[in-house]
């Protein structure tokens, strides 16, 4: 047998041989290991899908940013162009800057043939619009022919809601148009906005004919510019902004600005969704850890043999780490493929919410990142239980101790502690990379750590309690089941963690959804009115009132609205104050640029000082307001000044406190007032809310318009009422609130579906994770169950033992998860949505129940082997 030393083969590298050995040795374990590793597939899929798709959207926005705007620069004013502006635009045109105009306003549209009326967004455009992007219509020729006469192109939803056809006439104010086409695609159109205010396009030269834009009407007057290639947008904006906006409020937008605004909105949404993906990944990691722990138990024997045959502890660790890494890679690749599938489906699901047509294509960086993170997380979580294998004694080959003892010596293993730290650092790093601020990232990590910690402690508490609570008088199956909770090597912590986390995820989703819906329902319910008329002139009010009363309608409220601007605060004219603010801002900017200054200290905004306020007068507070400072109006002031109550955030913006004086310019008339109170306003209710509310005496004689809230008995009455009013008073707009409610409900329906889908994914994720957790003590249970059978236990008794154990585990995990989800739902409602929270018992119990059932099912499923094994197996095993 001996070979002379000279003839002995040369030593090759050990590592290639280890690869081969690792591969061969994994033969029967591959499927199981793959099942454990699939726990991370969903997390990887989520990350890849979200990262890839948001890249696609940003890319599409970039490509279409000019089409979204329609030009290179858009100047928007809230008042018509002055002759000075017109002559500027003319000379720009002569210099090569093409321009078009668009006047945008809101109006009631009426189709005389059917009598249908609807509030619409009117875009009155000149020739040349848009310079970029294409507006397509059906028939295709309709857009090209728009300017040739009294033509109108409408949103297809409008045709449906007005029961109109191509060829019908449609009136806007005093002008009549012919519907020549429906809009198929308008760049930048967000699908759902059409439900609230459908768009119509008319030639701009007919705006005057409608007689809708009288003094005080709101409209946006846009001038769209197409710059020659040698003119930079920034230069144009800086040079011409003051002149283009002279005599009005407004802004200049460049395509890039729009794009970066959109991009940052998309980024925020992406980060938020990515956090969800991260949580799935972490839950998957827990599944991997449990499963690999079970895997390691099965490998104690082969490891002992290898150690006898001369394998060092590092060779052993390498072999099994290679196996875990290979399966982790496959699991992560599976996740990538799934994620790509989701990415390609996303445009279809989200098309109503996106402002651009998104071209979906592969994003290699997102794929590689998702894959890398998935493999890393899988490897970290897998190695933690695996490192115990390197300490398995070769003595196990000749004298076998219990699984738990064989691996138990390793509790204070420095390598294991290092891995735990690496996991913590990874979680923190991932959280920080996705959150937009450090605080959010740390809060996310702390939240996850807290949830895991609480679950861990409750599991430990269960084990502790079980041991002390056990009573000899209990029936045997119950005692045995309870004893399983604290016996050496029990799976209590792993199962409670896996189960509890799943309940936590799903419970949070459902509770938040429930709360948002309930609060919306409440608010919708609170709004008794179902029709609102606005822009009602003082002189028109009596006539409209009688039309309303002629039907069986209920007049709910008539709110006066007075347009005004601030002319002075505490005696100082606003122009001076604005100049001060801008000077201070310039100084601070200069200081920052020179490295001297710090943050922005100037908190007042010039916007609040320059804008038009639409205010009202009342003698009482409404349900949506709360007094937070000062006193409500009682008697008139002795000095004859008016009294005003401001919304507290606007007061901050203006830099105004209680007892300051504000002088208002109400269409030329100065109205001096004292700030006598501040209010906290709930802006999201369905009632008119105001920044400034005056005492009735100050404004009763001012020129005003009214918003009239009405309750009509049914849909037909609503339609009839709207038709009757607009027929007589064409400049009055009305909104069918039930339509708005329906749209909101529709949108919510989609959101609910998305939430259900996410919850289902969470459930789907929990299954492999639970399987892995339960698999850990499979061998012990098998041995024990078979032994019990040998001693005379029936299948029924064994079934009851398992039922007791898993029911207890499931209940504890579900309960803890439920409590945690209530806490996180509260935090979400409080900090993110700023709405009140009430725990949703129904959904929480439902989720908990589902998970308990799942836990019992999985327990019994994996326990079915015990039923199948014969007692002989127990005798042979030793």
């Amino acid at each position: 047998m001996a070979t002379p030393a000279s003839a002995r083969p040369r030593r090759a590298a050990v590592w290639p041989r280890l690869f081969a050995l690792a591969w061969r040795e994994s033969r029967t374990a591959r499927r199981r290991l793959l099942l454990y590793m699939s726990s991370i597939s969903l997390g990887v899929a989520a990350l890849v899908a979200i990262d890839s798709f948001s890249e696609n959207v940003i890319q599409s926005v970039h490509e279409q940013s000019r089409a979204l705007l329609g030009g290179d620069i858009v100047a928007t004013r809230n008042a018509a162009r002055t002759p000075a502006v017109d002559s500027l635009v003319d000379s720009l045109r002569a210099a090569g800057v093409a321009s078009a105009t668009s006047t945008n306003f809101v109006s009631m549209a009426l189709v005389p043939r059917t009598g249908g009326t609807r509030l619409v967004q009117v875009h009155a455009v000149s020739t040349g619009y848009p310079f970029y992007g294409v507006i397509t219509t059906e028939p295709a020729s309709a857009w090209g022919q728009l300017q040739s006469g009294h033509n109108i192109a409408v949103d297809p939803a409008l045709l449906v809601s007005l029961d109109a056809r191509i060829g019908d006439t449609l009136t806007l104010g005093q002008a009549t148009f012919v519907i020549t086409g429906s809009l198929e695609n308008v760049p930048g159109d967000i699908g759902i906005s059409a439900a609230i205010g459908p768009r119509v396009y008319i030639p701009e030269r007919f705006v005057e004919e409608t007689q809708l834009l009288t003094f005080g009407s709101r409209a946006d007057y846009q001038t769209i510019f197409k710059l020659p290639s040698n003119v930079a947008p920034a230069f144009f904006m800086a040079r011409f902004r003051p002149r283009l906006l002279a005599g009005a409020n407004g802004n200049l937008q460049a395509a890039g600005y729009n794009e970066s605004r959109l991009a940052s909105a998309i980024d925020q949404l992406h980060d938020y969704l990515a956090l969800v993906g991260l949580i799935s990944l972490l839950l998957g990691g827990i599944g991997v850890a449990s499963g690999v722990h079970a895997f390691a138990m099965r490998k104690i024997d082969p490891v002992a043999i290898l150690r006898c045959l001369g394998a060092t502890s590092w060779q052993v660790l390498t072999i099994y780490t290679l196996q875990a890494a290979a399966m982790g890679l496959v699991g992560a690749l599976g996740g990538v493929v799934l994620g790509l599938g989701i990415q390609f489906l996303m445009p279809m699901a989200l098309e109503d919410f996106l402002p651009v047509d998104v071209t979906v294509h592969l994003e290699p960086s997102a794929i590689l990142l998702g894959l890398g993170i998935g493999v890393w997380v899988a490897l970290l979580f897998a190695m933690r239980p695996l490192v115990a294998l390197r300490r398995v004694s070769p003595l196990q080959a000749i004298r076998r101790s219990a699984d738990a003892d064989a691996l138990r010596r390793t509790r204070w293993d420095p390598l294991r502690i290092t891995l735990s730290l690496a996991i913590a650092v990874t979680v923190l790093e991932l959280g920080l990379s996705r959150a937009d601020t450090i605080q959010r990232g740390v809060a996310f990590t702390a939240g996850i750590a807290g949830a895991i910690g609480i679950l861990w402690m409750s599991a430990a508490a269960l084990s502790w309690t079980a041991r002390r609570m056990l009573r000899p008088t209990w029936p045997f199956p119950l005692r045995q089941g309870v004893a399983s909770l604290y016996r050496p090597g029990n799976q209590t912590r792993a199962v409670v963690l896996a189960l509890g986390f799943g309940v936590f995820l799903m419970g949070t989703l459902y509770q938040v959804q429930h709360n948002i819906l309930t609060s919306l329902d409440n608010r919708l319910g609170e709004a008794r009115a179902n029709v609102v008329f606005f822009d009602v002139q003082d002189a028109q009010k009596p006539g409209i009132d009688s039309i309303i009363r002629a039907g069986t309608n209920e007049l709910i409220e008539e709110t006066p609205i007075v347009a005004m601007r601030i002319s002075a605060i505490n005696g100082r004219p606003t122009t001076d104050i604005v100049a001060d603010i801008e000077r201070e801002r310039r100084e601070q900017r200069a200081a920052r640029e020179e490295g001297r200054g710090g943050e922005r200290r100037e908190r007042r905004g010039p916007w609040a000082l320059r804008r038009e306020f639409r205010s009202t007068y009342r003698d009482s507070l409404t349900r949506s307001e709360e007094l937070v400072a000062g006193k409500w109006f009682t008697a008139p002031l002795p000095n004859g000044l008016g009294q005003v109550s401001l919304d507290s955030s606007v007061a901050r913006e203006l830099g105004v406190k209680l007892n300051d004086t504000i002088s208002w310019n109400v269409q030329g008339v100065q109205v001096p007032t004292v700030v006598t109170s501040l209010r906290e306003v709930k802006w999201s209710t369905f009632a008119p809310n105001f920044f400034a509310v005056f005492d009735p005496a100050s404004l009763a004689k001012a020129p005003k318009q009214f918003a009239i809230l009405v309750r009509a008995p049914d849909a037909t009455a609503i339609a009839r009422l709207q038709r009757d009013v607009i027929a007589k008073y064409g400049s009055v707009s009305s909104l069918d609130l039930t339509l708005v409610q329906k749209t909101v409900t529709d949108v919510l329906g989609k959101v609910i579906m998305a939430v259900r889908f996410l919850a289902l994914i969470s459930l789907g994720l929990s299954v492999p994770v639970l399987f892995s957790a339960v698999a850990a003590t499979r061998r012990e249970r098998l041995r024990e169950g078979v032994l019990l059978k040998t001693l005379g236990a029936t299948r029924r008794q064994i079934g009851r033992i398992m039922l007791a154990e898993y029911a207890l585990l499931g209940t504890l995990g579900a309960l803890t998860g439920m409590l945690l989800s209530t806490g996180s739902a509260w935090a979400t409602m409080h900090w993110v949505f700023r709405q009140p929270f009430s725990p949703a018992i129904g959904p929480a119990v439902m989720v908990a129940g589902a998970m308990i059932a799942l836990s019992v099912a999985i327990g019994l499923l994996t326990g079915r082997e015990v039923f199948a094994e014969t007692p002989m197996a127990a005798l042979r095993a030793n």
């Binding site: 047998m1 090759a12 590592w15 150690r307 045959l309 001369g310």
Partner: protein, 227 residues
């Protein structure tokens, strides 16, 4: 070749101390065929573990081919085992996910040796399993499995081979053939063989028998002959 000096092993469980081996000393020259016998609980398996470096004694020394194993850590002992020690177990201890050929290759692969496949095939032919190279342990009979185990034990050309109840799970006829195989390999390659067994008929075939009882050596035929 193998020297045991004042070996003792104690196990602690709570406040209790259990002495499994007490002051065991002997030496075994190269090429010897030695049997260690004793009833169940006599400490012979524990002694085997210490002699093979699978475990560390509470006190005393084990010197294998000049190397003091008690002064080494786990990994150093593992490497020594890989170079100089072969094992045969009562329950064969083949890795169930590897074929017969791959099982025999393991010690060579752990040391990164080239040509592991050819050598393993040669060894299996030598033990009469040339036609079973690709079979898994579950497809082999008990005797065949033990022969694979023996082939594996000789793969790295060990200086010493430890066999723990090698015939314990086999019928008498198969067991006898296994022992014959061990004896012939011992003669051909001058490998020291240390057998642990409670089977006295098997023990009788060894040239030296060390009898254990209650953790001590109670008789040693070598010293008896000398005496």
């Amino acid at each position: 070749m193998l020297i045991a000096r004042d070996l003792s092993k104690e196990y602690r469980s709570g406040d209790n101390t259990l002495a499994v081996l007490r002051d065991v000393s002997f030496s075994i020259p190269q090429g010897a065929l030695v049997a260690i016998v004793g009833p169940s609980g006599s400490g012979k398996t524990t002694l085997l573990g210490l002699l093979a470096g699978l475990d560390a004694p509470t006190s005393g020394q084990v010197i294998l081919d000049g190397a003091d194993m008690t002064a080494m850590d786990e990994d150093q002992r593992a490497q020594l085992r890989g170079e100089k020690v072969g094992f045969v177990f009562q329950s064969f201890q083949l890795i169930s996910t590897l074929t017969a050929l791959e099982n025999v290759q393991v010690p060579l692969e752990l040391r990164g040796e080239r040509g592991a496949g050819e050598r393993a095939a040669e060894l299996l032919r030598r033990v009469g399993l040339g036609d079973r190279l690709d079979h898994f342990p579950t497809q082999l009979s008990g005797g065949e499995q033990q022969r694979v185990a023996i082939a594996r034990a000789f793969a790295n050309e060990p200086r010493i081979l430890f066999a723990d109840e090698p015939t314990g799970n086999l019928d008498s006829e198969t067991g006898a053939r296994i022992v014959e195989l061990l004896e012939s390999l011992n003669r051909e390659s001058a490998t020291t063989i240390v057998l642990v067994t409670h089977d006295l008929t098997l023990a009788a075939r060894a040239e030296r028998v060390i009898r254990m009882s209650d953790g001590r050596v109670v008789s040693d035929t070598l010293s008896e002959v000398a005496v």
